[in-house]
């Protein structure tokens, strides 16, 4: 009996050592890059691809990881959501990458999710999103609503004494969920339903005349009004242009945006936008040594003095460095080991302070509010006192109030219901 067990143990040990030898034999660690290089999202995602390539470069100059060089595998999912799933499968089964950095829109992430869970891959998602999700195989290094939308609303309410709210967004999952959370939050704060106006527009909307006129009318009711904008991508430019044209200035009706950063502003004449706001975890204008170094590095890497940095780039930077630390800690690139090693890892933010990966696969980060300046940069006008821990499940939606995500033993669940004490709750 004992002998049998012993032999079985030996066999198992031999098996694993053979396996690990096979892993060791691979001479590089492969890093998958899943960002759209063509189509509508190319404008934003190309930058992130370059960021990952820069990080890989830098890591290799430092001698790689676990004594091996890193090798980037770049694919182009072409802003085509189903193609994101196919390319993920290709990266994991054909290229056998150890980690993926990718996705921008929530719909692309949702399409990758089933594949990455089925094949047990590892992905870092670097963009602010609507929350209500936590997967064992994904780390969310962008902001969840309580790290961006809620602090921004608090700022408007407390510092600018806003009483009337326009929630304007593009018509898809991120703005709809964020606005649902914000509506619930505002109502909890005693804002009347009459004082909230919600408006959705299609992707790439370009004729903003009526909507801006409506906002003007809504704001003319004698109470301080602000616009909370989840308008995504290209549509922002004509929106701001129309605001300026109709004479809505930031002092009258400030617009706080969650999807407008330095990159988006580099395509517009920003003079008419001066004073409008954005909420992020990072601004290029934040004064810190690490940030200065990163900006110089980026300009050198792209060979363009005018290139700007933005929040999703910082999220990619933190995600990549945390992953590298976790791999060194786990001494392997095995997904399960790295996943557990990731939790609790800390890495300095570019914007000051130290980001920490929490049990729910979300980061603790500082939140900044910036005012747009005429050179297309932001001036920080407000920041949170300390770090804000990212919430996977919003506390303000009835369906997800009792849910938490905790990937450590013994819970190990992305949607644990604290009331029912069971895994498997439903959010919004």
């Amino acid at each position: 009996m004992n002998v049998k067990k012993f032999v079985a143990g030996m066999a198992l040990a031999a098996g694993t050592s053979v396996l690990s030898a096979a892993v060791m034999a691979a001479d590089t660690i492969k890093v998958g890059v899943l960002h759209s290089l063509s189509g509508t999202m190319a404008i934003s995602e190309t930058t992130l691809k370059d960021t990952v390539l820069m990080m890989v470069d830098e890591q290799n100059r430092k001698g790689g990881l676990l004594g091996k060089k890193l090798e980037a595998v770049v694919v182009d999912p072409a802003s085509d959501w189903p193609l994101f799933a196919e390319k993920t499968r290709e990266l994991l089964t054909k290229e056998k990458v150890d980690v993926i950095f990718g996705c921008w829109t929530s719909v692309s992430r949702k399409s990758v999710l089933p594949v990455i869970e089925e094949l047990n891959g590892l992905m870092f998602y670097p963009v602010q999103y609507e929350g209500e999700e936590s997967s064992k195989n994904v780390f969310y290094t962008g902001a969840s609503p309580n790290q961006q939308a809620i602090p921004a609303v608090d700022y408007l309410m407390n510092d600018l004494e806003v009483e009337r709210w326009v929630l304007a967004g593009t018509d898809y999952v991120y703005p709809r969920t964020t606005n649902k959370i914000l509506e619930a939050y505002l109502e909890a704060k005693g804002v009347d339903k009459k004082d909230i106006m919600v408006n959705y527009t299609p992707f790439g909307h370009s004729d903003w005349q009526s909507i801006v006129a409506d906002i003007k009318k809504f704001g003319g009711a004698g109470k301080k009004t602000a616009v909370v904008s989840t308008i995504n991508g290209d549509a922002n430019v004509p929106f701001y242009k129309e605001l300026a044209n109709q004479g809505v200035s930031a002092e009258d009706i400030p617009v706080v945006a969650f999807s407008v950063g330095e990159e988006e502003l580099s395509g517009i004449d920003t003079r008419p936008l001066v004073g409008h706001l954005a909420a992020w975890n990072y601004f290029q204008g934040v004064d810190s040594e690490a940030n200065e170094r990163f900006i110089q590095e980026w300009k050198k890497f792209t060979g363009d003095e005018k290139r700007v940095t933005n929040d999703p780039m910082e999220a990619t930077y933190i995600g990549f460095n945390m992953w590298a630390k976790a791999v060194e800690k786990a001494e392997t690139t095995d997904v399960d080991a790295v996943e557990q090693a990731m939790i609790g890892i800390e890495f300095p933010n570019l914007s000051g302070g130290v980001a920490k990966m929490n049990k729910n696969h979300h980061l603790s980060k500082p939140v900044f509010i910036g005012e747009i300046q005429d050179d297309g940069q932001f001036e920080v006008v407000w920041e949170t006192d300390g770090l804000v821990a990212g919430d996977a499940w919003s506390d303000f939606l009835p369906g997800s109030k009792d849910l938490i995500a905790d990937w450590t033993a013994p819970i190990k669940c992305g949607n644990y219901n604290t009331k029912a004490k069971a895994c498997g709750g439903q959010g919004q």
Binding site: T40, K224, N245, A250
Partner: protein, 555 residues
């Protein structure tokens, strides 16, 4: 000069938007600036204040500004205006404040705040901007309004009184009293009268006085008037029935007028959207409508026009104001010659094979998009809007027309008229119509059909390019610009009736107006869908569009 213009714009904005921001709280009698010339003020204290301004945190700045306003009054207007516009800098070493503006060559030119005396070119490192945020901006705007109330032009005074309607504090009313005593034009006195009526209605307890106040207020479109009446009706403590009835009537009258102007506004928005659709479709009305070529690369011709505008602006950075005038013919030539190339190179070989033409032109559109991505980068290009195209023309407090939309509406009509004349009155037009009606017969009569085909396609593409110049003022200039307009363009042409230019005009405007009248009720997303569904149903009933071609030519 430039910041004066800017201030003018801001004041225009004041007139039209009625800021919700309060008109400041630290107003005192002295804030109504004395007529004492600035030079007689004791300079020492002010120098200290100015020096403090350069060092103050954003929070402290407001206090410093108040003190400056009290001590300097009118003389401070230039300082405030420069700070509001973000042009106020100080010299790092001497601490001297100056207004700094970039000249066309990109050099920073300083000038003295108070005398306007030129201080020459400043290097980037030697000066630092005086920081300003939203709170300070609204503070500054109020301060400027108070100064303008006494010393400004008519328009500035009007804007200042309008701003005060939002905050009828006793201090502000005293300020208005001083202004009124100085004797004012009819419009300004009328507004001051209105402000007094509003205070009367709010504070008085005499029914008759309040009733006459309501009489003054009725029919006024200014938002504070409406808000006050609404608040009065919502307030349950207001028990005077007479007052309630009068206020109710007055509010109804105001709302009736607003409803009318709302209608006018919707109509303008609709016409404006229609003009964009018309511009986008008008080139297609020629290539698809007249020649019968299904040109999927039409959107890219628009895109090329928009990129031409960008390049023109890059080439003449000192003359942005005139760039559009140059860009229109340039875009026509660029898009037109690309059109001729496409026709000569591809389409002519596929004559009479619509399916292959469709696929080939679709391929061309992808090639052009990628070419632009490679040459200019996938990022959007910044196209500057010239000064004369920005801003609003305010007809009254609830109805204003933005200049860019107005010009584009006129431009679309002009392009349309020009095209109509070309087709009806020139020999090229005659040939085009002959070839499109009966190619073989035209050929037999000695028309060089090949040449005409190339020219027609060039004309259609060129006009698409011109449309691109106009669209560059409204939307993003990026590789995907064309894609967002191609469907709309086909929609307009098919709806209007293929081969009928007038149909395109009517089609464009009716789709635009329908869309804009639906939008407030249904939201932008649903409005688009409803219009599309209606269009499909319409085409089912009348496959040849609004104005079908009749007679033999139609076959």
């Amino acid at each position: 000069m430039k910041h004066l213009l800017l201030t003018g714009c801001l004041l225009l904005a004041l007139v039209t938007t009625l800021p919700a921001a309060s008109a400041g709280s630290v107003v005192s009698e002295q804030a109504a600036p004395s007529a004492t010339p600035a030079s007689e003020e004791p300079g020492g204290n002010r120098q200290v204040l100015l020096a403090r301004l350069t060092r103050a945190s954003l929070r402290e700045s407001a206090e410093v500004l108040d003190q400056l306003e009290r001590s300097g009054g009118r003389a401070m207007r230039g300082l405030f205006a420069a700070m509001l516009a973000g042009d106020l800098y100080y010299h790092r070493e001497t601490g001297r404040l100056m207004a700094v503006q970039k000249n066309p060559a990109g050099e920073r030119i300083g000038s003295d705040i108070f005398t306007g005396e030129g201080l020459g070119v400043q290097s980037r490192g030697s000066i630092k901007k005086v920081r300003v945020n939203n709170r300070l901006r609204s503070h500054l705007r109020d301060a400027i309004a108070r100064i303008d109330l006494m010393h400004g032009t008519e328009a500035q005074k009007e804007g200042a009184v309008l701003a005060i309607l939002d905050d009828l504090s006793p201090q502000n009313m005293r300020l208005l009293q001083v202004t009124a005593d100085a004797g004012q034009s009819d419009r300004v006195s009328e507004l001051i009268e209105l402000a007094r009526a509003m205070v009367e209605l709010r504070d008085s307890s005499v029914t008759d006085a309040r009733l006459s106040a309501i009489a003054v207020m009725s029919g006024r479109l200014e938002a504070p008037v409406r808000n006050q009446l609404q608040r009065l009706l919502d307030d349950e403590r207001e028990s005077d029935r007479k007052i309630r009835i009068a206020a109710q009537q007055s509010l109804e009258e105001i709302e009736g007028r607003i409803a009318f102007y709302d209608f006018m506004e919707q109509l303008f928005f609709g016409l404006s959207l229609g003009s964009v659709l018309l511009l986008a479709a008008i080139g297609l009305a020629i290539t698809f409508g007249v020649m019968g070529v299904i040109n999927m690369a039409h959107g890219e011709m628009i895109m090329l026009g928009a990129y031409t505008t960008y390049v023109v602006q890059q080439l003449m950075p000192g003359a942005i104001e005139y760039s559009l005038v140059v860009a229109v013919p340039a875009a026509f030539l660029v898009s037109g010659s690309v059109g001729v190339l496409i026709e000569r190179g591809v389409i002519r070989h596929l004559q009479g094979r619509p399916l292959e033409t469709l696929l080939a032109t679709f391929g061309i559109s992808l090639i052009l998009q990628q070419a632009v991505r490679t040459i200019f980068s996938p990022l959007n290009m910044p196209v500057v809007t010239p000064g004369w195209m920005s801003g609003v023309f305010a007809i009254n407090p609830v109805f204003s027309v933005t200049f860019n939309r107005l010009y584009i509406l006129l431009f679309a009509l002009a392009v349309f008229a020009l095209l109509l004349v070309t087709l009806k009155k020139t020999s090229l037009g005659l040939n085009v119509r002959a070839v499109s009606q009966n190619r073989d017969m035209a050929k037999a009569m000695g028309v060089r059909t090949e040449m005409v085909d190339a020219m027609t396609f060039g004309l259609g593409s060129g006009i698409a390019g011109v449309a691109g110049v106009a669209l560059s003022q409204l939307t993003n200039v990026g590789p995907n610009l064309g894609q967002s307009y191609i469907i709309d363009s086909f929609m307009v042409v098919v709806f209007g009736g293929v081969g009928n230019l007038l149909g395109t005009l009517v089609g464009g405007f009716s789709l635009g107006v329908t869309n804009k009248f639906l939008e407030p009720a249904t939201g932008a997303v649903l409005a688009n869908i409803i219009v599309l569904v209606c269009l499909i149903l319409f085409i089912q009933k009348r496959p040849k569009g609004l104005f079908p071609q009749r007679g033999r030519a139609a076959e």
